[in-house]
Amino acid sequence: MNSYEMPLVLFTVLGQSAIGLVAVSAFRQVAGPDAEPGRIRLEWLAAGLVLVAGLIASVFHLGHPAGMVRALSNLGTAWLSREALTIGIFLVLLAAGLILMREKTSPMLAVATAAAGLLVIVTMGMTYSPPSFPAINNALPFVFFCLTALLLGSSAGQVFAVKASQPMLTRILTVTLVVALVIYLLVPCIWLSGGEIMKQTAGQWLASPLYWGRIVIGLVLPLALVKRLKGTPAWLWVLILAGELMGRAVFFAGTVHTAANMGGMY
Amino acid sequence: MTQWKKTDIEQAMDCPMTRRRFMKWMTAAGVTAAMPCGFLVPGKAEAGIVYEGGYETFRNACPRNCYDTCGVVTYVKDGVIKFVEGAPESTFTRGGLCVKGNAYLRKQYSPDRIKYPMVQQGRGSGNWKRISWDEALTRISEKFIEMNEKDGSMLGLAMTKYSGNFGITNYGVEGMFSSLGYTTRMVGTPCWPAGIDAQNYDMGNMWCNDPEDMVKARYVILWGVNPAWCSVHTMKYIYEARQRGAKIVCIDPVLTQTAAKADEYWQINTSEDGALALGMARHILDKGLVDQDWVTQNAVGFDEFAGYLRSEVTVEWASKKSGIPAERITRVAEEFAAADPATIWIGYGMQRHVNGGASVRSIDALVAMTGNVGKPGGGARYGHLQTWGFNYHAMVQQPPEGAKGYLGPAAKGEFDFTEDSKGPAYANRTLNINKTARELLDATDPPVRALWVSCKNPLSQDFDRNLLIEAFKKMEMVVVVDQFFNQTVEQADIVLPVTTLFEEWTVNASYWHYWLSINEQAVKPLYEAKSNIEIAAALSKKMNELKPGSCTFPADIDTKEWMAKEFNKGVYDLFGIDSWEALKNGPKKARTNRLAWGDGKFGTPSGKYEFKSELCAEHGFNALPEYVASRKPYDKLRLLTPHTKFGLHSQFINLDWMEDFNPRPYVYIHPDTARARSIADGDRVRVKNKTGEVLITASLTDNVPPDAIMMYEAWFKNNPYNCQNLVDDTSADMGAYKAGAPGVAIHDQFADLVKA
């Protein structure tokens, strides 16, 4: 068991939620009828605040937050520096959108910002998959982070979407919930047939009440509610957020580091 | 082997242009000043975690009860010790200490260290109050004076002391006691007395070769000894011997770290070492592999021994007793006899049995009959005291005029080199240190009223612990001189803070290697700590203040002078130095006396090696090294409580640095034994026997045999764990002859365990 890394849990979940909000709203502007500036602006403002909240949380992770500005120094090899850069770009575009989207929305800007958000998730995915964690030294973190973005983007997006867009959002949410359920149930099982550290990771995840909490509260329950209510309640995102926070906590605490097995067979 | 060390390390270190040299050059060229942004200045090193250079160095010696007695080089800056290294001049220490020695900084600067004299209001209450030295010594002196008046002697004052600090000036504690009058002394040693006596009966002294000559051995049997843990510096000689073609055999009830490094390991049935040695001897005799020339020239009684072997010993019998297959016994016996030279290192654990002394005699016989005594690379190695010929100036003090004492024989400890005093028949009352609890409770006329403890931790180390607690309750005053609030201090009335090796002047020798080390005062004593002789001087001053003439110990001493006073011509000649100051350049090695019995002149009554020792028979044992039966088990499983690498008795394990590597004690159980009791790895278990019980975590391993369990002797901070709860005070056979009292059958204990 590693530490829960709560600052990073908040940072990643909130950051991905913000990106999800932007991405889903971009999708709505491009693909759907939902292009009302007022609500989009509110949504982007919410995304901005959420992202900033996540960034503030991440500061608590640092031993010396004052040095944070220097975190861009190693773009050459460090995905963490690149993550900082892409977040900066995303924030700039978000800010630009907030300013420009007073009278009308700009689908191009929306898509560009969403793309920037995707880049953030890519860099985050790379940052959190070092070789020291064999179970996630792959595209899984990227996949997990995409799921977080889509889940929160489509469920919290309901708050801002016009009624006409809501079925589309519900469809995105439903599909993502099913995909997430499959992935989160399947991945530990696959790990069980992997190397020693993967197996241990599977063991920790499957034994964690938070893992099961996320499955039930964050995925199964929302899915059932959406089916039952034939739509997404405006407050459903609370359950999903709780689930994502729990799941991210397991991601940090329950994923085993190679150094934990020094002296044993790998 | 270590080819890489010489060439690769030199190559690795050799850098034609180090950054430092580059910088020096650049600075000289005045170039750096001109460069913008300090372009060429090397990256600044880690904040606060550096090796800086520019230290003052001092010489110290580790004074613990350890074969290795390392020479220490102490690096000081601004009056604070920054780190320690081993003395490079000693080929034995060779620049490095051990896990314990490297933790010395934490012992020196531990926040748990006792800073001031303190008085405890209610023993065991933890209600400690700081008092001044003056007040402490006043209380103590008043008690001593009161006792003297009540009993007409100082016999009510008892001292228990042993090996907590082997710096020679620490015998000043004994000196202090002598200077107070005739007192009660706990005499003897729990450590090695049976083996000492055995070697004395066989050869006339305990005397081993220079361990550094082990490289010459062609066959090495490590018998009941675990140097990989208890004498790490000797391992390199064993490895070198193997490199040169020697076979290393390890005999031990437990698969120790040493066993894992041997060529062949025998899991002997505990305490049947005598039978095994005799079995090997019988086979060697049968095969005609005895070194008849050596035996004829240098020994007496071999024919009787041979007769005993032929009539009472067979290889099959030895195999049955020891559990070692017969064909192994015969093969190794032949290999041992054929190797020239061959040597056996007899461990102290091996003789902590009711038949310990007898076993040592049997093993000695094995070495002698194959002609391996008196050879470089050979010998029956146990220990020696060749380099301990100091003046014992601190120890030898006179009783005050008119002092009365005990009218009876007094026993002497093995480190007591003082001459028996000629004069009145008064003497100290000597009690068996190995039965401290019983002796303290039983002593009468007068009873023991006050106990002084220094260089010892009886409530962590001594036996029959529950009884010892009772004995402490009987004491009217308990004074403990120590560094930490250990289990003995917990039951004291007054604790006096004592100096560490870095804070006192003394001199140290080893009972294994032949190096001599000076111990300089590297830093001033922390807070109000005093060395044992400083305490003695201060006590004397106070005693005489309250009752003139009550203590003869000098009240004003210069501890550096007192260290110098331990030296004499004998020591100087042996080490080839003119003055102790020569030791400031590093430890020095004895020039002679390093080949035990090389001249064939044994210290026995006959002047020969005595297979048959009349003296031994006089003392109540067998004249020949005959088999003596082991202790009958009194419970289901044998309990072994040997030493751990992480501590030396109750020292070091309590340090936080050590806790990083050794956080808790375990009981080691064979998986079969555990399964039968439904115990899994990591379970809490209760180990119980007739003496007491211990609650502890289980670790399953087949390093221990199915019929034994093992836990290490240790004192963990804030942990009541103490294996002595389970150890009774049954004596070993020998020890009274040269060490004042028989030893203890520490490893002849038995217990059972259940899941807690």
Binding site: Y266 | R19, A47, D263, Y265
Partner: protein, 189 residues
Amino acid sequence: MKKQLGFLVDADRCIGCFTCAMACKNQYHQENGVIWRQVYPLKEEIYPHKERAFYSLACNHCENPACMNVCPVKAYYKRDEDGLVIHEQDKCIGCGNCIRSCPYGAPQYNPVLKKAEKCSFCHQRIDEGLTPMCVLSCPVDAIGVIDLSTLDTTGLVQYAPGFSRQPVLNPSVRFRLPRLPEVVRRKNI
């Protein structure tokens, strides 16, 4: 090949005495729980006798170090002259990325300074012509300093069982594997 210093871990000679681990503490006085050099017992699946064979490991001063690659503030550098990987604690912001990313657990978090730190190969001692403390202190020459560019690798392996295989990082440590004694046990106990 350029000079690359590293540690030789001779698990055959090693007696697991922890002298090296404590020698490092003795020199650098790390906070409790911060262990630059750890002595790992080999599990019974690799060496059949419990806690009787060990790998003493600190930092492996890799050719392509994870710590240096992932550090956002470039607080690590690799020395040109000998390949040692040095952490400049002054620059560290305590983000923990190196701590998470090194498969060998070499960088650790100092909770008092709130920064990472790790084995420095005693490079200040090396620069003064001295040996690292662990190497100096080992009583049986079970740790040594090697230069990979000139090393005779006979009998040595890079990835001993129980040591994570990371060819991308290319750790500069080499192992000699421990041998087994011939064990004679009592029968029918």
